[in-house]
């Protein structure tokens, strides 16, 4: 029994995968492969990759698979198709599951997608001993890499970085209230992130009352008249500045007034407007934390570079696990039963 892999990804060529293989979903592909006589295969289809992993005893099957993919793409997949066998296929899958082959290194979604692909193949009756062990092992390695290295830590979007910071200030956000100044996609995105962190109340203030009302109803929030927002500074915990104003709308004087009443409670101001919505001098107040768009973007860049640094450690781990699995594969191919331990792996750290 051999393991073969044929596929295409964002790394192997500048293709619009959606266009070339867009009509073919993973379920379609599985059905077609089954009809074509394949007994053990798994299809992993995401926006950035389309891969088929299969177990076969016929070495010529790699080309057969490649032909299938070409056919499905109506011939538009000229370059970019790659293939792997055995040990290389294993390490590729492990790397993919660990997020090392993704556009955003260490991203979490791919692990779920790998799981889905495996479950779909299993439901279609297209898994066997090799693929079962392989994919379960891949999911395990994916989790291991994420927990033992920093490759997936650190938020990579301005909105999620802001929420993480808010959690560093307030802890559990369920008692925090938020005031949004302005409207716009960034504000809404950040608000949605905060909502998913279960903040208790959301207020929306906009110079235009209608706009405030609209956004408020979309987010199940409370609209606030523009003149009234300074008073709210006395009680809210988080302020998101996202108006299109050319001058700061949140002045030091306003915050100073509010601080007299706030008695030292923390105030987190997320200023994602360009130009700034909040006067930078607000940062001088002891319990006011003012983060501008630049600051947040800086943190995102830092997180990204930190993830990159962790790639080496992740790659080492993946390499070790693949070698382990490849050895087992050899034993199995030779017909010898061997045990493959699944639990209590100690991560080799460099």
């Amino acid at each position: 029994m051999q393991l073969v892999l044929v596929g295409v990804s964002h790394k192997s060529g500048s293709l619009d995968l959606r266009e070339s293989l867009g009509g073919v979903s993973a379920e379609d592909a599985l059905r077609r492969l089954k009809d074509a006589g394949w007994s053990e295969c798994v299809v992993l289809a995401t926006c950035n990759r389309f891969e088929v992993y299969a177990a076969t005893s016929n070495s010529g099957d790699v080309d057969a698979l490649a032909t299938h993919l070409q056919a499905w793409s109506n011939g538009r997949l000229e370059q970019g198709l790659y293939s792997r066998r055995d040990g290389e296929a294993v390490s590729h899958l492990f790397a993919v599951a660990a997020g090392l082959d993704s556009l955003v290194v260490g991203e979490a979604e791919i692990l779920g997608q790998v799981k889905q692909a495996y479950q779909a193949a299993s439901a279609a009756g297209l898994t066997g001993k090799l693929t079962n062990v392989l994919f379960q092992r891949a999911l395990h390695v994916g989790k291991l890499v994420r927990s033992d290295t920093g490759v997936s830590s650190g938020q990579l979007s301005v909105a999620s970085v802001a929420v993480t910071l808010a959690e560093r200030i307030f802890g559990d956000l369920h008692k925090s209230s938020v005031l949004i100044l302005g409207a716009g996609t960034m504000a809404e995105l950040t608000a949605r992130h905060l909502l998913s962190a279960k903040v208790s109340r959301l207020h929306i203030a906009n110079r235009t009352w209608e706009k405030a009302r609209t956004l408020a109803s979309a987010l199940e929030a409370e609209p606030v008249r523009w003149e009234d927002f300074p008073r709210l500074l006395e009680s809210v915990d988080i302020v998101i500045g996202s108006t299109g104003a050319s001058e700061p709308v949140l002045t030091k004087a306003m915050v100073e007034e509010a601080i007299k009443v706030r008695q030292g409670r923390s105030l987190f101001i997320i200023d994602i407007a360009m130009p700034r919505d909040a006067e930078s001098s607000i940062d001088e107040f002891e319990h006011a934390y003012l983060y501008s768009l630049e600051d947040l973007e800086g943190l995102v860049r830092e997180n990204l570079s930190m993830r990159r640094k962790e790639i080496e450690a992740a790659e080492t781990l993946v390499g070790a696990k693949s070698a382990e699995f490849a050895a087992w594969l050899q034993e199995a191919a030779a017909g010898r039963q061997a045990a493959l331990r699944h639990s209590a792996d100690a991560a080799p750290r460099s």
Binding site: R168, F170, G171, D172, G264, L299
Partner: protein
């Protein structure tokens, strides 16, 4: 001498535990936290064993039966070290805050190595016959109650320190990884408050016990002796903190400074007073 050797062993374990606490602060794995706790357990075990030998020697003197051997600097420091470790393990267990070990355990360390230093200075572990005034069941209660409260305040001080660091981190716009390991600012603030609120009644009850004992031994409940006065000062400062927080709603830096000032009063009450007090100079080598 069995007692001192076992005590030194305990001190070594506490040191190791504190070292692991610092590693845990910066590293990722939970295993450092486990190592820290195991060292603390081992240290406490050695400590208790050492205490057993101390009791044996102490009670060999008939007048000392059956009182606690804390009528000396060594005895008091030893008790304090053990209590700090125990209180920390309890607080850490309830709030899953092993991460604060680096802020709290140094006190246990200071107390235990302070005791070791004292023993080397005096040439022994200071096992003396109790002076007549101390031959009372109160010696088993009053100092212990007060010292437990000191440990709780020590934990609160560590939390306050972590809070100041965390505030600085978030304020800096470039929070380091430490920021994500420490608890949130508001959580630390709330924990600081709750620890002090828990320890405050214990402190005041300890002071009152001292007064009742003094009334029975010397005829007056309160004499403004340096130790009494400084214990009262400590209680007043913490009472001020509690009022500012509960009634006036203070949060953050100002409140933390007040609570830390309270802890400096604790330290002064425990150590500094020995150089001032006429009556409580039992802990100096009189």
């Amino acid at each position: 001498m069995m007692e001192l050797n076992l005590f030194r062993l305990a001190a070594v374990f506490y040191t190791a535990g504190t070292a692991f606490a610092f590693v845990y602060l910066y590293a990722r794995e939970d295993k450092w936290s486990r190592w820290m706790r195991w060292c603390l357990y081992a240290g406490a075990a050695a400590h208790v064993a050492s205490f057993g030998f101390r009791l044996q020697a102490f009670w060999a003197i008939p007048e000392n039966r059956f009182f606690l051997p804390i009528n000396s600097f060594f005895g008091a420091l030893s008790f304090l070290a053990l209590a700090t470790a125990v209180v920390f393990v309890i607080v850490e267990g309830r709030h899953q805050l092993g991460i604060l070990g680096a802020f709290v355990l140094p006190w246990a360390l200071a107390a235990s190595w302070g005791a070791v230093w004292r023993a080397s200075q005096m040439g022994n572990t200071e096992i003396h016959g109790l002076v007549p005034a101390l031959q009372s069941y109160w010696i088993n209660i009053h100092p212990a109650v007060l010292m437990v409260s000191y440990c709780i305040f020590g934990n609160a001080f560590g939390v306050g320190l972590a809070l100041l660091i965390q505030e600085r981190q978030v304020k800096s716009k470039r929070p380091s990884e430490l920021c994500y390991r420490l608890p949130a600012i508001e959580d630390l603030d709330s924990l600081n408050y709750r620890l002090i609120a828990f320890g405050f009644p214990i402190l005041t009850v300890g002071i009152i016990m001292g007064g009742i004992w003094a009334y029975g031994a010397w005829g007056r409940f309160w004499g403004w002796d340096a130790k009494e006065t400084w214990a009262l000062i400590t209680a007043l400062v913490y009472a001020a903190y509690l009022h500012m927080r509960i009634v006036a709603g203070w949060r953050g830096r100002k409140a933390v400074y007040m609570s830390m000032f309270g802890f400096t009063c604790v330290v002064f009450t425990f150590i500094g007073v020995n150089f001032l007090s006429e009556l409580h100079g039992y802990l100096s080598n009189r």
